[in-house]
Symmetry: C2
Subunit: 459 residues, 2 copies
């Protein structure tokens, strides 16, 4: 008899996981802290939109939701850079014009919940889990009327986000390693409405960035013609949220640093003072599972910063990997959870690191012409040496190569690109004049230095 499964959290990962397990014959019950977002008008969590890339789509295939979501997804084929000097630049993400996709977090979550219920998953809303007794799998809930109740889970998943109740209970157990740390930067969401005729005010198929070294503004397109903007800025210091106290402060700050954005933001002041300033947490924990009884998944296992657009994608890949283990090991949950932990933990750590590194890339490096040149050369290398070279960005966003492998390739790619760029203008080279064989040697050196890594089925 299949075990019954309890999942904490009906967010993106919890809802998807419930569908995957229900389709395999498990009884699945979901407990969600918030009211049903399909009925109440509430925020769908941390951000309005997210960037879906290859790992996310693959998991949606498992749920049969790809085509539904493709209709609502806006491809972003590159970064549209609004430089400080007023110039603009477009930096393509992939060598084959691949895109990441702007998707409404709320719409995706609602669809996943509805599909889960259609499959027969039972979702209990407004159940706040306050504590888990990990040894007995006893869940303690608080209801909106202040009453409490307890349930005993058979097999339990914590898909309940960065401040997961299951994670918090793991942390109190002996020999559980854990960390949480916050960036000095916070973020605030702002808005760019459409033109009066409903058309978009900026290039639709791009992720817009205003890189300003230690801070930045970004904007992602929505299907209703708006852009969701996010300002990332230190909480404290000379240029900081703390320093923006009055309307005048805010107006002056935006006029100074984002003059081209100001005319597109008629509700800037209302948005700025009406919307919260939120913090950016990164968490680690070890282990991710307890015996054959429970496991953490998604942000509950690895809350990361949003700068690689991989939070949801990483959580969805947790689900894909788990589905593969179910195929391989049937109902042997002891083995399944052990393998899940062993396979996913290094990748959770790696994507956390990649996301932190990409913050520096987005807010600072993309303002540098030398860096943009490097990105172009990377794409060219990928075309010239498709068997040997794929850029780290492409590994992360357009492949299923383990995050840990992508992270481990950074240093070797830095070395390779350093060698190439030391030789002067790459695109002006005469490839028949010895440079081609030198380049081939360098790429071979690179390839040899990384080929022992696990590239999955895509190496």
């Amino acid at each position: 008899m299949a075990r019954s499964v309890t999942i904490l959290g009906a967010g993106l990962v919890g809802s998807l996981l419930s569908i995957i397990l229900k389709k395999r014959g498990y009884e699945v019950t979901l407990y969600e802290r918030r009211p049903d977002m399909r009925k109440a008008s509430i925020a769908a969590g941390r951000s309005i939109n997210l960037a879906m890339s290859a790992r996310g789509w693959k998991a949606l295939d498992l749920a049969g939701l790809r085509s539904d979501m493709e209709m609502l997804a806006i491809p972003m084929n590159g970064r549209y850079l609004h430089q400080a000097d007023g110039s603009a630049a477009f930096q393509q993400y992939g060598k084959n014009n691949e895109a990441i996709y702007s998707v409404s977090r709320g719409e995706l979550n609602k669809k996943l919940m509805t599909l889960a219920e259609q499959e027969g998953v039972n979702i209990h809303f407004e159940h706040r889990c306050t504590k888990v007794d990990v040894y007995s799998n006893t869940l303690h809930f608080e209801l909106p009327d202040g009453t409490t109740k307890t349930e005993v889970a058979d097999l339990l998943f914590g898909a309940d986000g960065a401040f997961s109740a299951l994670r918090n209970s793991y942390v109190t157990m002996e020999r559980v390693d854990a960390s949480q740390f916050y960036l000095e930067h916070g973020y605030k969401e702002l808005n760019i409405p459409p033109n009066e005729d409903g058309s978009l005010r900026m290039e639709k198929n791009a992720l817009h960035i205003w890189p300003r070294k230690n801070f930045m503004l970004i904007a992602l397109p929505n299907t209703d013609g708006t852009f969701t903007c996010t300002l990332f800025l230190p909480f404290e210091g000379e240029v900081s949220f703390a320093a923006l106290k009055t309307e005048e402060d805010v107006k002056k700050f935006f006029a100074t640093h984002f003059p081209d954005a100001v005319p597109m933001m008629p509700t800037l002041i209302e948005d700025f003072f009406g919307n919260p300033t939120s913090a950016l947490i990164t968490t680690h924990i070890k282990p991710w599972h307890f015996k054959d009884k429970s496991a953490l998944i998604g942000d509950a296992a690895h809350a990361i910063v949003p700068f690689y657009g991989q939070g949801m994608n990483a959580g969805f890949e947790d689900c894909t990997v788990l589905a593969g283990l179910l195929d391989a090991y049937g109902s042997d949950w002891n083995t399944i959870l052990q393998h899940y932990d062993r396979m996913r933990k290094p990748n959770g750590d790696a994507v956390a690191q990649l996301a932190l590194l990409n913050f520096v890339e987005m807010r600072d490096k993309v303002a540098d012409p030398v860096f943009l040149e490097r990105k172009k050369i990377e794409k060219e290398l990928g075309k010239l040496f498709p068997e040997q070279f794929i850029s780290v960005y492409e590994m992360v966003s357009f492949s299923h190569i383990p995050y840990d492998t992508a992270l481990r390739c950074i240093q070797a790619q830095d070395q390779l690109l350093g060698r190439i760029m030391n030789e002067g203008d790459f695109f002006a080279k005469d490839m028949n004049n010895g440079f081609d064989s030198m380049l081939r040697n360098w790429v071979n050196d690179y390839h040899q230095s990384v080929q022992q890594l696990d590239f999955g089925n895509e190496g």
Copy 2:
């Protein structure tokens, strides 16, 4: 009017802190989770004895307890090494025969509690703090009869150890960074009784070590003629606590690795199976304080592993520094707690790192004759160049130089000693043959590379 102070934890640091504050005119109330150890026969916490060194003595001076404790303290002037080949070696700690002191944790704690009460501190035992509301300084307690009570603190200190209730409450606040991690090794206390005539079975004035690379046994002398032994061993693996299941397993393990210790341990089997196997945690947190309302101190702020014998010494130094800030800033607790945090946090991080590094030194490096030779050269350098060179070990144990400075000197000392030892047998050198000037240059190089660090008043 002076603020009233509430302290969580009547362990070593909490009790000492209460005395320091009471002597300065504050009303002080202590809450302790355990029963009164002066009445009940209970374990005094994590270990039976501890190693008191310079920082600990300095703080005891503040409480006026130095002479009382000196009578109960056994100087250990060096490490007595019981090597795997059956040979023994004595490695002096300091160049002037300085000692660290084996002190009974329980006796010291009892004396501090009694002195606190004599000064007028109110100690409430068997009050387990379950939660702190950090904003309102409301403390929630659970009493032995199952009832609960709440108290509101004016100024609050969490001296309640690695699993501090105040720390746990800080961790749930936004933008608080925190980590906990455990060693793969656990520890178990064992016992060496005196000879039948009451005399000690081994050298009294030494810290005994049986270094065995990935594990070790140590023994510290007690005033009753016994030695407290501690076995540090991985929890799992081929050679581990998990592998020692039967009496035969334990006997064979000790006979193989510690044959000289076995005849001195008549109760080995009872001790081994009767005493718990405990874990070794290291914690970090940031910040250490909240406004002018509360602060963490001792293990609550920086739980560290015991391998440098600095846990209590670091906590006592927190008290000394705080006392200095009270002298400097009077009742301006906003400034006092800000400075306390800024001054102590880097040193808490550093002593945690030093303690982890010293584990490798104790269990592995001291088995290596080259390392013992290095230690001798370090002492000689300290004599030849007293203004320029003091070994990291001496900084930590025999000085008040900030831990952070000691940690930052490691690399430069490694380089200096590497240079010297590359030249062959140091003690066979003819100092009048050019070697002396080369040595002087190298020491000057070292001194220049570290002289910008903060050596406090002892630089």
